[in-house]
């Protein structure tokens, strides 16, 4: 489907917002506005934005610990996201989930997960539920390359395959688990090479080409919605930072890091694409400013939000 000018610019703004949030995490932690662990997706923005652009608002996503980008791309609620990261009552999860457990099922976010591959069976279960109930909503399950080695992941993909469930597995292959490179953790060269083992279709694409991601997903979704079988879509990308805010990523070779950050930045690439499509410097700079402003506005909002009352600690254990 042809994207309008507004939509194309919106994707640019969203990529910038995601980049800004995850770049600013370190500052938030330094200022004790945010605590604990956080896993930034800087450099991987094109996957989140390209995939979510192709979805309907009532489709579901499930994500992992590196899920700020996916969550923001699906729910478009920067204020709610920041309020949650800052532990406030008005966050997605009323401050009880935090960075690794962002969830907002009402807007189709089944949640982030602190267990690698923990959310994959849940995503499959949601797809089962949709097919069982005859509801036309599909599920996108975001996962990383390292999750592809977890037992639960294999079980879940197999279950989805055997039942032709309406689910797309989007594997962001950012070349590293934590510090162990993907090449040391699996014998196959590409994640998608494993798809035939489940009897499903596998594709490997450039995960830093946001429009390419969008077009591929859009094309595959029709068959997935029709329950013709899940697809394993491997998106090649790169994690600019360390595994988490506590990790400098020193194990990454300098030249590799340089190439990906300087020559294969998904945002720079998309900016060039937009220029080629005739967007003016004013429009692009305006969008950049709007993205930066929206972050500051959301942060100010989040900082003004109340913390949850202490009694909330014991609430919502049971329904």
């Amino acid at each position: 489907m042809e994207l309008s000018r507004e939509e194309l610019l919106d994707m640019y703004k969203l990529m910038l917002q995601i980049r800004t949030v995850d770049e600013k995490i370190a500052m938030l932690v330094r200022n004790s506005l945010m605590k604990g662990f956080s896993h930034q997706c800087v450099g991987q923005e094109a996957v989140a934005v390209g995939v979510c652009r192709a979805l309907r608002s009532d489709d579901y996503i499930a994500t992992n610990h590196r899920g700020h980008g996916h969550s923001l791309a699906k729910c478009r609620d920067l204020k709610g996201l920041l309020a949650e990261l800052l532990g406030r009552q008005t966050g997605y999860c009323h401050g009880k989930g935090g960075s690794m457990h962002l969830a907002d099922t009402a807007t189709g976010n089944l949640g982030a997960n602190g267990i690698v591959a923990g959310g994959i069976p849940l995503a499959v279960g949601a797809a089962l539920s949709m097919k069982y109930r005859g509801i036309d909503r599909l599920v996108i399950c975001f996962l990383g390359d390292a999750a592809m080695n977890q037992g639960a992941c294999h079980e879940a993909i197999n279950l989805a395959a055997v039942n032709d469930l309406p689910i797309l597995f989007v594997c962001e292959n950012n070349l590293y688990g934590f510090s162990v490179p993907m090449s040391s953790a699996m014998k196959v060269e590409h994640i998608a090479d494993r798809a035939p083992a489940y009897g499903i279709k596998g594709l490997t694409i450039d995960g830093n080409d946001v429009l390419g991601v969008y077009e591929t997903v859009e094309r595959e979704l029709a068959d997935i919605r029709a329950c013709k079988g899940p697809v394993l879509l491997e998106c090649l990308t790169y994690r600019w930072k360390g595994h988490s805010i506590n990790d400098q990523g020193a194990y990454k070779p300098a030249e590799e890091q340089r190439w990906w950050t300087e020559e294969n930045c998904p945002i720079k690439r998309y900016r060039a694409v937009l220029q080629a499509k005739g967007f003016s410097e004013d429009e692009l700079a305006g969008t950049e400013q709007a993205a930066a402003d929206s972050f500051e506005e959301a942060l100010e909002y989040a900082r003004s939000c109340p913390f949850p009352e202490l009694k909330c600690a014991l609430e919502d254990v049971y329904a």
């Binding site: 966050g91 089944l110 995503a123 879940a156 329904a319």
Partner: protein
């Protein structure tokens, strides 16, 4: 009891389209213990779904399905296999509601055949319900008879929380009066299995039957034993237990789970703190001895608590 559970599943499936079953060999095979026999023929493959051998996968799928509108009832072939899917149970099902700030609910039931005494040996005889009781967000049901099994199963399916439904394998073949119509027995309400005056025995599942036999025997000596069956260990009806102990002044807690760190320790400790001044003797716990369940049937009886162990404990509490 297995028919009672089947009837509960059948009646709930008939009433509510969103109830569906998953598990290994539960469809045309009817389940390893034949609990789901006939349901596949009645409801079809969509609602009675055979899964590959992949507990982490399908139990996790139950969580996702429950969050998005279904009410799945999954069967693990043996409670021992829960170790293979602890993450979906403990980190996902138990926590999803809380982590989402109350937005999600996980209305699922996980059926777990547990217990020893049939030479199942180490991997087919365990009673791990303590682990699940020790996890906020989960409920744990432990019926001891067919009537409670049906009522608790219906209540568990209708409950919006994840329920670990423990089915002692030696109880599947037991019989009892079960109303034909659907009915609920509330989670968190104990039942007085036998009234008495001299000592309280709190017992679950098979231990209820052992305690009742002991009570019969001791009645001949003029010792009147009250047997309290909590029926669910989470939520746990401590009010009923404490009320009983305040009446009898002596307490024995008996379960098939290991005595060391078993849920009986929770009950004993709470009796002490709530009814200290009413006790005429320390609370005595009866539980499995601390070793894996061995294959040899005599060795197995050494580990799993027997009638004699309950009798000894009751006598000890009475200093008789």
């Amino acid at each position: 009891m297995k028919e009672a559970i089947r009837e509960a599943l059948d009646q709930e499936m008939a009433r509510d389209e969103s109830v569906m079953l998953l598990g290994e060999d539960i469809a045309f095979y009817g389940g390893c213990f034949q609990v789901t026999q006939g349901l596949f023929e009645k409801y079809g493959a969509k609602r009675v779904m055979d899964t590959p051998i992949s507990e982490a996968g399908f139990v996790g799928a139950c969580v996702g399905a429950a969050i998005t509108g279904l009410r799945p009832v999954a069967e693990l072939m043996f409670m021992d296999f829960a170790t293979v899917c602890m993450d979906p149970i403990v980190n996902q099902a138990a926590k999803s509601r809380y982590m989402s700030g109350g937005a999600n609910k996980v209305p699922m039931v996980l059926r777990l055949p547990n217990g020893g005494g049939m030479s199942g040996a180490e991997h087919h005889s365990q009673s791990l319900e303590t682990w699940f009781a020790h996890m906020p967000g989960l409920y744990v049901a432990c019926p001891s008879n067919p009537y409670d099994a049906k009522g608790l199963m219906i209540a568990s399916i209708r409950n919006d929380n994840p329920v670990m439904f423990c089915e002692h394998k030696l109880l599947y073949g037991t019989t009892g009066e079960v109303p034909e119509e659907a009915y609920e027995e509330p989670l968190g309400r104990a039942r007085i299995a036998r009234e008495g005056r001299d000592a309280t025995v709190v017992a679950t599942q098979m231990m209820v039957h052992k305690a009742l036999r002991v009570a019969e025997k001791l009645a001949e000596e003029g010792i009147s034993v009250e047997v309290v069956d909590p029926r669910t260990i989470s939520p746990l009806d401590m009010d009923a237990i404490v009320t009983s102990v305040k009446k009898t002044h002596r307490a024995v807690v008996a379960h098939e789970a290991y005595k060391f760190c078993g849920f009986g320790a929770e009950i004993a400790s709470t009796i002490m703190s709530e009814a200290f001044d009413y006790l005429d003797a320390p609370v005595i716990r009866v539980g499995a001895k601390f070793a894996p369940i061995p294959y040899n049937w005599d060795l197995e009886k050494e580990i799993i608590p027997q009638d004699a162990d309950i009798e000894k404990a009751v006598r000890e509490s009475l200093y008789r």
